[in-house]
């Protein structure tokens, strides 16, 4: 057995040296390489995952805000339509009202004017009547050339009244 081992070059001193060598290497790699590198890999993976999730979130938010914007625009358009319609109705209403009022006003003015004209006319006629009376008297006096006495006057009046 021991001869076989020597023939194969197995030497317990070297064997132990190799085992120790490997264990030291294992320990150092564990401490220096695997720990930091694996931690870094994990960290990077988490970061990338987070970045992707964030991008998704941002996409969703963008779509949401776009939808909201659209909704607001739609609502504003509807509101504007309503306001315009309202204004139109109001205007129509006030137009009719103004027309009615104007008509009434005009009628009132016209009727006022008519009454005034009537009274003026009556007044003028009365004035003219009295003036004409005077003038007739004066003219008749001139034509006749003499002052009429009471009797003649009466006679003349009666004659003209016949």
């Amino acid at each position: 057995m021991s001869e076989l081992l020597t023939k194969l070059g197995i030497d317990w001193k070297l064997l132990i040296a190799q085992i120790v060598n490997f264990l030291v290497l294992l320990f150092i790699l564990w401490k220096f390489a695997y720990g930091p590198v694996l931690a870094m890999l994990e960290k990077r993976q988490k970061k990338i995952e987070k970045g992707l999730a964030d991008a998704d979130e941002a996409h969703k938010k963008l779509a949401e805000s776009e939808e909201k914007q659209k909704q607001i625009l739609r609502k504003a358009r509807e509101d504007a339509k309503g306001i315009v319609e309202n204004a139109r109705l109001q205007a129509e209403k006030s137009k009719a009202e103004i027309a009615v009022e104007a008509k009434a006003q005009a009628e009132k003015i016209i009727s006022g004017a008519r009454i005034e004209i009537e009274t003026e006319k009556a007044k003028s006629i009365a004035e003219i009547k009295s003036e004409i009376g005077g003038l007739v008297v004066a003219a008749t006096e001139k034509i006749i050339g003499e002052k009429m006495d009471e009797r003649k006057d009466k006679e003349l009046v009666e004659k003209s009244l016949k």
Binding site: D11, L14, N21, V24, L25
Partner: protein, 250 residues
């Protein structure tokens, strides 16, 4: 040309033989340690250069471990041992293709003959190296099993009383289990040793026969073999660890 199964000692420190494989593995270890130390100080969230290479290798290994264990937590537990075996073995295997392998060395008088003792000999071309790794691998699987269910229960896997239900069959299976653990050691160490030692011999012979161009395809072949053997060694370790962990839970 001298081909020796055992690694040749370059010199002795007292009675401790410093073989060429020991020197090579120590150099490789030193390179890995320095590289990892540099990496540790430069590791950053945005990888560049060297960190990229290390990360891609480690990530590939981790994913491979995941495909075996189906469990990230367990993969991470086994990962340091498996990855260290892979990196260490692949780098020592690739020492094979370094120029000067088997040709540059010191001439020594041995058994009345003058033989060349090369400075460079790939680590796995020495049974001490492969057996050491196999021991670490198999023992860590045993330790994992013991840690999971305790020494007493774990021992029952190998030592079954012949007076209970399956009687002698159970005992026999237990002995077989024990033998299979030893067989693991042998298969682990001799597979790697055989492949790499054969590769080395092949390369040396080819270099002696046709010095130019013809050895090139064999160099590529040896690069591939070195990679495959490192992968096989680390994956088998991973599988044995996984088996020990699952057996313990059942």
């Amino acid at each position: 040309m001298n081909i020796s199964i055992a690694a040749e000692p370059l010199f002795h420190i007292f009675s401790f033989p410093v073989t060429n494989t020991l020197v090579v593995t120590l150099c490789i270890s030193l390179i890995i340690i320095i590289a990892s130390y540099i990496l540790k100080n430069k590791v950053s969230l945005v990888p560049k250069g060297f960190q990229n290479i290390v990360e891609s290798v480690l990530e590939a290994l981790l994913n491979l471990a995941d495909s075996v264990t189906q469990d990230r937590k367990q993969s991470k537990k086994f990962f340091p041992l498996v990855a260290t075996i892979f990196i260490f073995v692949i780098l020592t295997n690739w020492v094979e293709v370094v120029p000067g392998l088997g040709t540059i060395g010191i001439r020594e008088e041995l058994h009345g003959k003058e033989v060349l003792i090369p400075f460079i000999r790939s680590g796995a071309a020495d049974l001490n190296f492969t057996l050491a790794l196999a021991l670490v691998s198999v023992i860590s699987a045993q330790v994992l099993g013991i840690a999971a269910i305790g020494v007493g229960k774990y021992a029952k896997k190998f030592f079954v009383s012949p007076f209970h239900k399956p009687y002698f069959v159970g005992t026999f299976v237990g002995i077989l289990e024990l033998i299979s653990e030893v067989a693991k050691l042998i298969s682990f160490s001799f597979r790697l040793f055989g492949n790499i030692f054969a590769g080395e011999v092949l390369l040396t012979v080819m270099l002696f026969l046709v010095p130019y161009f013809i050895p090139l395809p064999f160099l590529f072949l040896e690069l591939f073999v070195g990679f495959v053997q490192a992968l096989v060694f680390s994956m088998l370790t991973l599988v044995f660890l996984k088996m020990a962990a699952t057996e313990a839970t059942h």
